[in-house]
Amino acid sequence: MAIKIVKNFFKRIFSGIFQNKKEVKLGFYGPPNAGKTSLANRICKDFTGEEIGSVSKIPHETREVQFKEKVEIEYKGKSLTFKMVDTPGIATKVDYEDFLKYKVNKKDAKIRAKEATQGIIESIRWLDDMDMVVVVLDATENPYNQVNITLIGNIVARKIPILIVANKSDLRKANVKKIEEAFPEYTVIGMSAKYGKNLEEFYEEVFKLSKKSK
């Protein structure tokens, strides 16, 4: 009995000390162009001064999983260390012709498409490694999209804590409520990665959720 108490006591002290050392692997997932990299960049920039990757209006800009380790986020006097994992957007189709309208030449469009398909496979493979996932959705788009539903279903089936971001809330067409209605079982945060709107609530939820992660 006494031994158990002592043991627990040390466990608490040590986990307290090492809490900052243990990285929480935080994945940014979602369809292409929703603003995953924009959001990950903003967080990384705020706490490390460096960005994680490049942002573009052309879909599938991120075609490889990219990460930044030891990102220490401080919020309201608490601090947690994250491994930020920005992933290529998940889609069920990739057509190189879609890139042509962005003035990408045919050869580069084909390369981009090929890399995008590989990136999608890589994203899905990384899912098992995550401690926590932020699903970034574009609030101006219809949330009842099978990719969103499949992705969220998989995260839940793998028992990974999940947070939904309804991004681009700065745009007039944005409908955060529609996303809340589509996924009533999960926390949805309306925000703008581009303008840094509502980051406070985002950090609040991330810290709350980190308690649930393994």
Binding site: K93, D95, T117, Q118, I120, Y144, Q146, N154
Partner: protein, 135 residues
């Protein structure tokens, strides 16, 4: 006259295949996805009774991506699952889930899978579902 027929043929250039759940019930995940994709490669729109497991859905996306560039004119798929639990209460939903995880399937659900070259978009909201085809 000939012209007219050709035009009509182009508009009607798709076919639908229905598959009862019993056809995939006893297959493992690999066989199921292979079967589904083979039908899609033949340019059919597949209407499958029931649904795949969550990990089979992501597997389907992975295998789809792996096949783009390897199967001629294949650009991916359009996919939609119309589930029976969309309308039901949380408790019913939970009960459904447990039943589904035991039996696999969810026979109240319908899965629509089509080649992206044929199906442009599956538009959906909680109340309706629309299949938009490529011209």
């Amino acid at each position: 006259m000939v012209k007219k027929i050709q035009k009509q043929k182009r508009i009607n250039g798709f076919a639908i295949r229905f598959m009862p759940y019993s056809e995939i019930k006893n297959l493992n995940s690999t066989q199921r996805i292979k079967k589904v994709l083979e039908i899609v490669f033949e340019n059919y729109i597949l209407i499958l009774q029931g649904r795949l497991k969550p990990e089979e859905e992501t597997r389907l996306i992975e295998d789809t991506m792996a096949m783009i560039g390897h199967v001629k004119n294949f650009k991916g798929i359009e996919l939609a699952v119309i589930s029976s639990d969309d309308k039901t209460s949380t408790i019913d939903r939970l009960r459904n889930r447990i039943a589904i995880s035991l039996s696999g399937g969810d026979l109240g659900a319908v899965t629509i899978i089509g080649p992206a070259s044929v199906v442009k978009e599956i538009k959906r909201d909680p109340k309706k579902i629309e299949l938009m085809l490529n011209k």
